[in-house]
């Protein structure tokens, strides 16, 4: 039995080998040329493919961030120049190149010239110049291209289909070869000189970088930049980006696209205007309806539907006050009447009448007493008088004479002594029952 410690695990071995790759100074950055193999473009992802030549093949991976930076679309079989590092992928145990950058192989000089011009113009800011607005409804369109190419055909077809009222004027130009750039520049300048154009299209069909090269020349770029007319550029395929494309106001992928950018669809535009007209009607109608509704809403207020409510509460108040006034009038009258009746009822003559009766009674009593008193009075007096008369009667001197006494008077003087008498003197003798006259005959003293 061997000691098990003498055996490496696969992981340990793989880690060991990976470390050998990673620390190797030559394998950290290598420049490699080869042909793309097993390439299938994966959108927005890391790319896995192989690089090969006639005798060998190496697996390759290009991470999404690096891949997004390359300026061409890699294709199967394309020869490319790549930079990167070699390392080992432990899970599969295979070594591979991790590609940092990739560029097509075989166009070296032109590509470099292109890059240099691009750098120069970038520094000048030509690519960042404000782009001119394309007129929406161009009347006249200048097209600088080859009269025999498919480009002008596509443009004519498209414009006539979309916007037949635009006038296309072709400025024929060579688009390939050494003289092409100058020709293109001349035609661009002519179109600007003539001046009654709205839009300028320059174009060329697809081809190799050499074929497209006139459109990467500085003169063309400057003519485009200097153009007063807005320029639509449609050069090569969509993947070919020329300097002309970069400085043009608009880049179109194809001539058809250029024409579509240059003109609208006439019927669509008429329809749009009609639609705007309809929208105007609608908006106005809406506005009127809206205002109508607002007005209607205000008019729905009870102020207008039941305007009597404006004064109805007052009607109640006034009625209330009026009714109260009437009730008060009644109650006041009743109260007055009651007061007067109450006191009038107490105003009775009966007490006075009773008083009169009492007084009459009293008076009658007084009358009776008065009569009695006066009669008593007289009676008493009478008794008194009768008594005196009786007493007087008893004392009468005549009563003594009735016993035989009489007296003599001379000249009504009682004669008490004979001395008072003279002879022959006439005397009167008084008796009880009468008197007699006599004459003295003799006087005899004692």
């Amino acid at each position: 039995m061997e000691n098990s410690e003498q055996y490496l695990t696969v992981t340990a071995l793989t880690k060991y080998i990976k470390r050998k790759f990673d620390v190797d100074p030559y394998l950290g950055r290598i420049y490699l040329t080869g042909e793309l193999s097993n390439f299938r473009l994966r959108a927005n992802a890391h790319q896995y493919f192989s690089l090969k030549d006639d005798h060998a093949k190496i697996s390759a991976i290009m991470f999404k961030g690096a891949f997004e930076k390359i300026k061409f679309t890699p294709e199967e079989g394309m020869k490319v120049l790549v930079t990167g590092r070699i390392s080992l992928y432990e899970a599969s145990g295979s070594y591979q190149i991790y590609v940092d950058s990739m560029q097509p192989d075989g166009i070296g000089a032109l590509y470099q010239a292109y890059e240099q011009l691009k750098k120069k113009l970038t520094a000048e800011g030509l690519f960042n110049l404000p782009k001119k607005q394309l007129p929406m409804f161009p009347k006249r369109i200048a097209v600088v291209t080859s009269p025999s190419g498919a480009v002008i055909r596509d443009i004519i077809t498209t414009v006539q289909r979309r916007f037949p009222i635009a006038q296309i004027v072709l400025f024929p130009a060579l688009v390939q070869g050494d003289r092409a750039a100058a020709d293109i520049v001349k035609q661009i300048e002519r179109a600007n000189e003539i001046g009654d154009f709205d839009t300028l299209i320059i174009g060329r069909g697809g081809g190799s970088i050499e074929d497209l090269w006139p459109f990467n020349e500085e003169a063309v770029a400057r003519a485009i930049v200097n153009s007063d007319l807005p320029v639509i550029s449609s050069v090569g395929h969509e993947t070919d980006t020329t300097i002309a494309d970069l400085v043009a106001d608009v880049r179109a992928a194809t001539p058809t696209a250029a024409a579509e950018l240059a003109v609208p669809v006439l019927n669509d535009e008429i329809l749009k205007i009609k639609q705007m007209q309809q929208r105007l009607f609608q908006a106005m109608n809406q506005e009127i309806k809206f205002d109508q509704q607002k007005l209607a809403k205000v008019k729905e207020s009870y102020i207008f539907t039941q305007p009597t409510r404006l004064y109805e509460r007052y009607v109640q108040s006034v009625d209330l006050a009026n009714n109260r006034l009437r009730q008060l009038s009644d109650s006041y009258q009743q109260s007055w009447l009651q007061q007067v009746q109450l006191i009038t009822n107490r105003l009775s003559g009966k007490q006075i009448s009773q008083s009169i009766v009492n007084q009459q009674q009293q008076l009658a009593n007084l009358n009776i007493r008065l009569n009695q008193a006066v009669q008593t009075n007289i009676n008493n007096q009478r008794q008194c008088v009768l008594k005196l008369i009786s007493e007087l009667d008893n004392l009468s001197p005549l009563k003594i004479m009735s016993r035989g006494y009489s007296y003599i008077t001379v000249d009504d003087q009682v004669v008490k002594s004979v001395s008072q008498l003279q002879k022959q003197q006439t005397i009167k003798m008084n008796f009880e029952d009468g008197s007699a006259v006599a004459e003295i005959k003799e006087i005899n003293g004692d």
Binding site: N371, Q375, I378, I389, Q413
Partner: protein, 76 residues
């Protein structure tokens, strides 16, 4: 007689006469005249009383008639 002598004065005079006569020592002559006065006085007094009574009766009758008249009126 300028001034009338009242019933009571006459009565007093009569009483005086009666009293004097009762004393008895009045000379005959005077007694006679006093007595005479007394008689006269008593007549006068009686006359006065009679008159008073007449007057009284008359007044009372008048009063009664008034009263009667009133009573009569009331009974209407």
């Amino acid at each position: 007689m300028t001034e009338k002598v009242s019933f009571e004065e006459q009565l007093v005079k009569l009483q005086t006469i009666v009293s004097q006569l009762e004393q008895g020592d009045v000379p005959l002559e005077k007694a006679l005249s006093e007595f005479q006065n007394g008689i006269e006085l008593s007549k006068k007094l009686q006359d006065t009383l009679s008159n008073a009574e007449k007057t009284l009766t008359k007044l009372m009758d008048e009063d009664n008639q008034e009263v009667d008249f009133d009573t009569a009126t009331k009974e209407e």
